[in-house]
């Protein structure tokens, strides 16, 4: 796995005003810090080179104060089943380079951003949880970034995990493709943090999840955090249909259940590869040799291209079947799928309660 070392550091006003930011900056004493008013306006010329702007962005670290609301509802899609998930973004962008990554679409010409005012973020989260004591919030940090990819630098987990340990109605999910787990040891988590790993067959990891930890490394990390008392989650998302994919996912699932205790798994998700036009353009330009787009896709209501219905159904049925072989009561769900697909795959529509402690009423 590649560790993140920035080539340039920029600081916007108040970007270094907190102890949190100072602690991170102290780790890069040898890298020049450039103070600027507005990165997007002042430094746009950085991206005017013959190099790919997304790659350039991954080498730059920007400290800034986040203005706005940290905690947001996960943007579900109209017509598709939504699981009432919340997201907080303490940092955005990712130094890993997944060919299918949706961040390529809207974090173009942007740096790796660390928001300095996370104390404000914690206040906001706490306020929300206290305002709705009867509701149970599942909150993740992995929407616009990998939750743990740069945790050795930010040490954010050391702040978030103990914070959630004290909450009565909040659960934190740290979702990653890394094996950066060392900070999680000895933290007081009170069972309120779930460590989630994205999984894909070795071939996909090697070709499409560049610079991430290998499957073995991720599973080893999962094993380790489970020894530290954390619950686990696994995301088969995106599932990439390609020649021989069934055999590869079958082997992966077998490997998963040989590596971890199934009883410690809080949930497992499945989601087929889907993409918007912007991502398609990025894949064609940045990874012209990749074969991700060579399957058959069809435009869905949310303007995303998805595998055609029958293909997705076959894929979900297959993966579910393989998982159930090892874990007949696996807490399995699908991400961004229609009610019709839910009924076909699971035989029921999940009942979504806002105070549900789990994502769905797994049956």
């Amino acid at each position: 796995m590649k560790q993140f070392i920035p080539k340039k550091i920029f600081i916007e006003p108040e970007g270094d005003s907190t102890q949190y930011a100072q602690n991170i900056l102290n780790k890069f004493k040898n890298i020049e810090k450039i103070y600027i008013d507005n990165f997007q306006e002042d430094q746009i010329s950085l991206f005017n080179s013959d190099r790919d702007p997304i790659t350039i962005g991954k080498e730059i670290l920007l400290f800034k104060k986040f203005k706005g609301s940290f905690m947001k509802k996960c943007p579900g899609t109209k017509g598709l089943l939504c699981c009432n998930y919340y997201v907080i973004n303490a940092h955005t962008n990712c130094h890993f380079d997944c060919t299918y990554c949706s961040l390529q679409n809207y974090l173009n010409k942007q740096a790796m951003v660390i928001y300095s005012n996370i104390d404000q973020m914690l206040l906001e989260v706490e306020g929300k949880l206290l305002t709705y004591p009867d509701r149970y919030f599942r909150i993740g940090t992995g929407e616009l970034a990998d939750s743990l990819a740069i945790d050795s630098i930010t040490e954010l987990s050391k702040i978030l995990v103990p914070f959630f340990a004290k909450q009565k109605n909040g659960l934190l999910e740290l979702k990653t493709k890394s094996d950066n787990i060392s900070n999680l040891e000895n933290l007081e988590h009170n069972g309120n943090t779930v460590i989630a790993f994205s999984l894909n067959p070795d071939k996909i990891v090697e070709n499409d999840e560049l610079f991430t930890a290998t499957v073995d490394e991720r599973l080893k990390a999962a094993q380790k955090v489970s020894e530290w008392g954390y619950k686990l989650a696994f995301h088969f998302d995106p599932v990439v249909i390609h020649k021989g994919y069934k055999e590869q996912y079958k082997n992966l699932i077998e490997k998963l259940f040989k590596s971890v205790d199934k009883n410690l798994i809080k949930w497992i998700s499945m989601g087929g590869f889907r993409y918007s036009k912007g991502i398609k353009d990025a894949i064609i330009e940045r990874f012209p040799k990749r074969e991700l787009l060579l399957e058959e896709f069809i435009l869905s209501d949310d303007n995303k291209m998805r595998y055609i219905y029958n293909e997705r159904r076959e894929m979900y049925n297959f993966i579910r079947g393989e998982i159930l072989k090892f874990h007949p009561k696996a807490p399995l769900y699908m991400c961004m799928e229609s009610k019709k697909m839910w009924k076909e795959i699971f035989g029921y529509l999940p009942h979504l309660e806002k105070n549900a402690k789990t994502l769905f009423d797994f049956r």
Partner: protein
């Protein structure tokens, strides 16, 4: 009083020429002059016109490297000489004067595999000789993105593609579709463009007597079906339902067999009042269940 104003550029050129002449006379010709020899046996100097002039002036027979492919010629120049971006642009400019548009594509595209994006932009915005207000990109109606895509082709596929384009003269949209289908099928099935075009159905279309537009439409349908075999099956189901649908006069559903759209259009070509009356009457009596069934079948492709 006559005042002669020296052209600074001209002076620089003369100075360079004289320096080169002295160098050649002292050390001889160091690098060969790359020549492109076309099918008719006509030779074009790809680089080193000054050297050629100097050697001829002094009755010295120049040493050449002859290329039958202009692409190889440019690759040779690019790889053997440390030339700057401006020289490359000049090379392309010179090339514009000696090659036809088809060759120009090849001339432009081939080196682009090595060239960077900024240079590509520069080349595309070269004003065309004699048409000062038009650029290459404009004249050939190709975008940088399209060119970058072509740059990833093998030389064999590249030549097949442009022979096909030269033969069919498709417009920009058709060109894009045909390229995408060929490229995706070729990469998925690990076969060359030529192998695809050699398929019986396609050969039949290309060799038929129908006009180019008709050929293009048919070719696209065949390519689409090869590219999307599973989608073809669900589309067939939909087509069947539409065939069974008894529509009022002048009324028909149009659904996109193309994968990138989910819109179903009700098409009506009505030009007189009488037709309107029939049409409205027809709409009132539309078999709703059948329409729902059709739309459900359409949506079943993804939902």
């Amino acid at each position: 009083m006559d005042i002669k104003i020296e052209n600074q550029y001209h002076i620089e050129q003369q100075r360079e020429f004289l320096e080169l002449e002295q160098h050649i006379l002292k050390y001889g010709q160091i690098k060969t002059i790359p020549i492109f020899q076309n099918r008719e046996g006509i030779n074009f100097i790809l680089d080193g016109k000054k050297r050629f002039k100097i050697l001829k002036k002094h009755n010295i027979e120049p040493k050449y490297t002859i290329f039958n492919s202009i692409i190889d010629g440019y690759k040779y120049i690019y790889q053997t000489e440390k030339i700057g971006d401006s020289s490359i642009v000049t090379m392309v400019k010179n090339c514009i004067k000696i090659v036809d548009p088809f060759e120009l594509y090849k001339t432009l595209i081939a080196p682009l595999k090595i060239f960077n994006r900024q240079l590509l932009t520069k080349i595309l915005t070269i004003p065309i000789w004699g048409k000062e207000f038009e650029t290459i990109a404009f004249d050939f109606n190709i975008s940088i993105k399209e060119l970058v895509q072509y740059c990833n082709l093998s030389e064999e596929n590249f030549i097949t593609l442009f022979n096909l384009f030269k033969f069919l003269s498709p417009n920009g949209n058709h060109r894009k579709d045909i390229f995408n289908y060929l490229d995706q099928i070729s990469r998925r099935d690990k076969i060359s463009f030529q192998n695809i075009l050699n398929l019986e159905d396609i050969e039949e279309i290309l060799n038929s007597n129908i006009q180019n537009n008709g050929k293009i439409d048919k070719l696209k349908i065949v390519l689409q079906n090869i590219r999307y075999p599973k989608l073809k099956i669900v589309n067939k189901e939909l087509e069947k339902k539409l065939e069974q649908f008894k529509a009022p006069p002048k009324f028909r559903f149009i659904f996109p067999i193309d994968k990138e759209s989910e819109t179903i259009t009700i098409n009506s070509k009505i030009s007189n009042l009488k037709d309107w009356e029939k049409y409205l009457e027809g709409i009132e009596n539309l078999p709703k269940e059948q329409i729902v069934d059709i739309i459900e079948t359409l949506l079943r492709r993804w939902q």
